[in-house]
Symmetry: C2
C-alpha cells in the first residue's frame, strides 16, 4: 500500500549538519599532528602486539596544517555487530566525502558484516542506492554480522579480496571488539606493507565505547531517547491507573549507561546500576530488600504503583550469582552428556544440580523461583555458558519481592497490593530512525573517516568531539586505536582489547543520580520525554544525552 | 533535575485546532435538530429501559439554527476506565468553552473515576491547574477508575453530591460500558426531574466504540501510532540482523482494530485477526499451521526472520479454546475449595484437571505447553474466570510453532533456524502524548460537550465528524446514546449496551489487508513509521489513521 511512511520520506531529504571544519568541504580540510600516544594500560604488551601501528599521534582537522593528499581511493565499508541508529549515515557521510574528493573514487559495501569481506560479497554504492538510506535506522543497507576478523586466514582472504577490487582502505563500523579487530587487521596489513588502511567508527547503543577522545558512541543518543519515550509513557500510565508496579529490563549486558541515562531522563522510582551492585558486593537478597523497602514505603503512602529499571546484565554483577552460574556451567557441561539427566523432569534436575553445586552455590540456586531455575537450564551459548540474556531478571525480582511482601504481610508490616507488569526494551531502540544528533554525528563520523583515509592513516578511530556545542563547533580528528587498549583475560587468555567504559561511580553522572534517587523513590518526580522529534525547536530536536551534558558540565545541577 | 521534558514544555503551549464552527467561539454556535432516532437493535427493550431519553434527535452545530442558552452552569467531569491519549484535552476543551461562555461557570473534576462522584472527592479547576495538563498524555489530572455507575444507591449519592455542589451537568469520558452507564444515569436523573444533564465522550484506544455517528474513539490514533513506531523499529532490526522471528502481542481484548491499523501502517509478515479466527472457526492447530507455513517458506528463501502480530484477546476467539476455558472455569471453581488440589504440584494439578475436563476439552488442554497450562491455573479474576490477559499467547504460539518445526525438520521438510523474541505492547501507548490529531479531536470533543450542555441536552455522546478533512471542516454535534444500543447477554443476564464495533470482514479496511497479506508474508514490504511528530510537514504531523482514511475512501488503494 505504501512503500515509505510520511516521516521516512521526509527524513530522506534531511541534510545532516557536518562537524565544524568538515562543513567547508573535504578539499579544504587540513591536518595537524599531536604528540605520540601510549596505551591506557599494559603499554609494553600492546606495543609488542601492534608494532607498526602503536603509538601514533592524535590528529586533528582544521583549516590550518598540512593539506591532505587527494589521490584516487577505493574504499570498502563493513557494519559489524549489533545494530545502532545512525549506521546508514556513517556510510552516507563516507560516500559523500569520497565522491566530493574525486568522482572516480569508489565505495564498496561488504555484505552481512565482516564475513562479507572474507567471502567477497559486496555491493558498489551509487547515489541512487545511498539516497534510499539517508537518515534511516537499521543496518539493512548492507546488513551486519558478528564474525570476528582475527585469524591469519581471514586476513589473507581480506587482503586478496581487497586487491581484486583495488581497495585502498577499509572502514569498520563497530563497537569495542570490532575496533580491536580492526586494529589487528591494520597491524597485519601494515606489517605486510599491503598499502591498505583501516579506520574504525565508534558504534554501540550500550554507550560503553567512550573515553577522553571518544565522547559518545553513536546510537546511544537515539536508543536511550526511544527507551525514555516508552518508559515515560509507562510512568504516566502508572501514575494515572495507580495500580501497577512496572519492572522494566533494559538492554545492555556489561555497562549500565543506558539505564543511567534513561533514569536521568525519566526519573523513575527505582534504578539498579550493575556497577554499583558489583562495587558494593550486593547480594540478591539485599537488592530484593532495597526494592521491597521502597514498595512498602510507597504503599504506606497509599501508592501501590511505581516503576523500576533493571539492567539486562544485572545478575552477572551480583557476586554470589556470578559464582553460582560459573559453578553451574561446569556441572552442566558434564551432566549434559548424562542421558538420565537429560531425560529427567525439571524438578529432578534441580535436585541433581543442587546436590552437585558447592554449599553456598546450592543455597543460592535453591533460593531462586522455579521459572528462573528452568531458564538457567535452557540451551547453553556456543561457549557452553548459561545464556544470561535469556534470564528474565525482571521477573526474578518480581517473584522475590512478591514473596518478601507476603512474609511482611503475615507479620503485619505491609498492608498493600502488589500487581506487577514486566517489560524488556532493547529491539525497540536499536533500529530507530536516528535522532538529529545521531544523524549529524554519524554523518560527520563517516565524512571524517574519509579525511583520515586521505591523510594516509591506518589503525585510527574516527573522532568527532565537543558534541554538546552546536555542530559548527564540533572538532574532527582521529585517535590511534592502540591508545585506548589494555590487556584483559578473555576465555582464560590475555588479549588486547579496547577498554570498556563502565559507569564511573565517582563521576558526575552517577553522582547526580545518587543525590536524587531517594527523592525519586518516594515522590513522583516522573518526567515524560515523549517521542523523538526531528522538526521544531532546537532544544526539543537537537540536544544530546544528559550523560554527555553532565560529563561536559552543560547541565545546571539544580535540585529536584 | 528537571520537572518537565523539553517536548512536554513545548506541548503545553500547543493550541489545538477546534472543529469547524466551534472555532468561532461558543457564543456563535447554533443548534439544529435532526430526525428522532431509534436503537441499532432491540428498540422496544431499549425504549422501555430509557423511557425519558430514548429516541431523541441527532443534533448538529453550525452558524444557523437556534441559539444556545447561556445561563450559568456548573459542570462535573469524570474519567472512566483505561487511559487513552487525549483525555486531558477533552477536559481542557470543556473548561475553555465553559469559561468562554461565562467566567462564573465552574468545572469540577471527580477524582479516581466514577467513584469520585459517589464519594464526593473532587477538585475545582482553574487556569493554572488546566494549563499544566494541556496536550499531555495520561489521566493523572484527576485519575481514572473502573467503578461502574449502575445501582440506585450510587445514583442517589451522585444526585446528592451534585446538589451540594450545585452541578447542572456531568460529562463522562469513557468507552462503551462507561457511556452505557452514563445513559442509565441520564435516564435516572431525567426521570427524577433532577435538572442534571449527562453527556458522554467516546474514549478507547481499542477503537471499538465507533459507528455511523462516531468515526473514531479518541486515543486510538496516538496509541496505534506509538505501537507502529515500535514495531516498525523491530522490523528494521529483524531485517538488519536477519536472525529473529519477533512475535508481538498487542493490547485489545475484544476487537482487532489496533492490530489491523498497525498492520496497515507497518506491513508485517503475519497478522492474526481475532474476528476472522472466530468467523472461520479456526482451530489453534490451523493457526499454528498458518504461521509455520510462512516460517518455512521464508526459511526456504533464506529468510529465518520475520514479524508476527498477535491480538491480546486471540484465544477467546478460537472456538475450541473458548469452550475449554469455560469448562475449566467451572471445574476450577470447585477444585479451588479442595485443599488437596490447592496444595498439589502443578504436574498433579494438570492430571486432575484433564481427568475432569470433557473429552475434547481435555485434549485441547493437554496439547498446550506447560507454561500456558500454568498460566491457566493462576489466580482467577473477581468473577472467578481465567485471566485471559495473563496468558502469554505470543509465547504459546512460539512454543507450538517451534514444536511443529521440529517435527518438520525430522521429516526433512524444514532446514532453517527459528530464534524467537516475544513482546507485548500496550502500556507504552495508552498514555503517550496525544498526536496532533488526538489533541485537536479531544479538545473539540470537550468543547463540543459543553455546547451540548448549553443546548440543554442529556443522554448524548459528543460527536465530531468528517475527521479526515482539515479541522476547519470538522462537523460538531451530538448523538443520543440510546441510538447506539442493543441488548446483549452479560454474565447470563440481558443488558442494554452500546454495540461494540468489531472488525468488519467485509469492510474496506480488512479487504485491503486481506488483498496484501500474502505478499507481505513472503516479501519484505516493511514500512517504518518512526516516532509521532508534533512539528513539521502536515502529512507527517496531522493525518489520522489509515483505518479511518480507508473507511472514508481517502487512501488510494494502489498495489504494493
Amino acid at each position: 500500500m505504501r512503500e515509505c511512511s510520511p516521516l521516512h520520506k521526509e527524513r530522506l531529504n534531511y541534510k545532516p549538519k557536518l562537524a565544524g571544519i568538515l562543513a567547508n568541504g573535504i578539499k579544504n580540510v587540513k591536518i595537524s599532528f599531536g604528540k605520540n600516544t601510549t596505551a591506557v594500560k599494559d603499554a609494553a604488551d600492546i606495543q609488542n602486539l601492534f608494532k607498526d601501528v602503536y603509538g601514533q599521534p592524535l590528529v586533528s582537522f582544521s583549516n590550518e596544517g598540512e593539506a591532505l593528499n587527494f589521490e584516487q581511493k577505493n574504499v570498502g565499508v563493513i557494519l559489524s555487530g549489533g545494530q545502532a541508529p545512525g549506521g546508514h549515515n556513517v556510510i552516507a557521510g563516507l560516500y559523500d566525502a569520497l565522491k566530493a574528493a574525486n568522482p572516480n573514487n569508489v565505495l564498496y559495501g561488504f555484505l552481512g558484516g565482516p564475513s562479507g569481506i572474507i567471502d567477497n560479497k559486496y555491493v558498489k554504492f551509487d547515489d541512487n542506492f545511498i539516497d534510499k538510506y539517508r537518515n534511516t535506522g537499521g543496518f539493512d543497507i548492507i546488513g551486519s554480522g558478528r564474525t570476528k576478523l582475527e585469524t591469519e586466514e581471514q586476513f589473507e582472504k581480506t587482503l586478496q579480496n581487497c586487491k581484486t577490487l583495488n581497495i585502498n582502505a577499509i572502514v569498520i563500523i563497530g563497537g569495542d571488539d570490532s575496533n580491536t579487530n580492526a586494529c589487528m587487521l591494520a597491524q597485519w596489513l601494515k606489517a605486510k606493507n599491503a598499502g591498505i588502511q583501516v579506520i574504525g567508527c565508534p558504534k554501540t547503543i550500550d554507550g560503553d565505547l567512550k573515553n577522553d577522545q571518544i565522547e559518545i558512541s553513536f546510537g546511544f543518543d537515539t536508543a536511550t531517547k526511544t527507551y525514555a519515550e516508552l518508559i515515560g509513557n509507562i510512568q504516566r500510565d502508572a501514575n494515572s491507573a495507580k495500580k501497577y508496579w512496572h519492572f522494566i529490563k533494559l538492554m545492555g549486558r556489561s555497562a549500565t549507561h543506558v539505564g543511567l541515562e534513561v533514569a536521568l531522563q525519566v526519573q523513575p522510582n527505582i534504578t539498579l546500576i550493575s556497577e554499583e551492585v558489583e562495587a558494593k558486593k550486593q547480594s540478591l537478597e539485599s537488592i530484593v530488600d532495597y526494592i521491597t523497602d521502597i514498595v512498602v514505603k510507597r504503599s504506606d503512602m497509599g501508592k501501590n504503583f511505581g516503576v523500576a529499571l533493571i539492567p539486562e546484565g544485572l545478575i552477572e554483577f551480583i557476586p554470589e550469582m556470578k559464582t553460582m552460574i560459573s559453578n553451574l556451567n561446569d556441572i552442566l557441561a558434564v551432566l549434559e552428556k548424562d542421558e538420565k539427566f537429560v531425560n529427567a523432569q525439571n524438578s529432578e534436575k534441580y535436585q541433581i544440580i543442587e546436590s552437585k553445586l558447592e554449599g553456598q552455590n546450592a543455597k543460592v540456586f535453591n533460593s531462586l523461583p522455579e521459572m528462573i531455575k528452568a531458564q538457567l537450564l535452557m540451551d547453553r551459548d556456543p561457549h557452553g555458558n548459561v545464556q544470561v540474556s535469556k534470564i528474565e531478571t525482571e521477573k526474578l525480582l518480581i517473584e522475590m519481592v512478591r514473596a518478601r511482601l507476603k512474609a511482611l504481610k503475615a507479620q503485619g508490616k505491609y498492608n498493600g497490593k502488589f500487581s506487577d507488569q514486566a517489560h524488556f526494551f532493547g529491539y525497540e531502540g536499536r533500529c530507530a530512525m536516528p535522532s538529529n544528533f545521531d544523524a549529524d554525528y554519524c554523518y560527520s563520523l563517516g565524512y571524517n573517516a574519509f579525511a583520515l583515509i586521505q591523510a594516509g592513516l591506518t589503525g585510527y578511530l574516527s573522532s568527532v568531539k565537543n558534541l554538546t556545542a552546536p555542530a559548527t563547533q564540533w572538532k574532527a580528528g582521529g585517535v590511534p586505536l592502540t591508545m585506548m587498549m589494555n590487556m584483559e583475560k578473555r576465555h582464560g587468555v590475555m588479549k588486547p582489547v579496547i577498554q570498556k567504559a563502565l559507569v564511573d561511580l565517582n563521576g558526575p553522572v552517577f553522582k547526580v543520580f545518587e543525590q536524587r534517587r531517594e527523592k525519586w523513590a518516594l515522590n513522583d518526580c516522573y518526567v515524560f520525554p515523549g517521542a523523538i522529534q526531528y522538526f521544531g525547536p532546537c532544544d526539543v530536536c537537537d540536544t544530546t544525552t544528559l550523560t554527555l551534558q553532565l560529563e561536559q558540565q552543560k547541565v545546571p545541577v539544580a535540585q529536584n
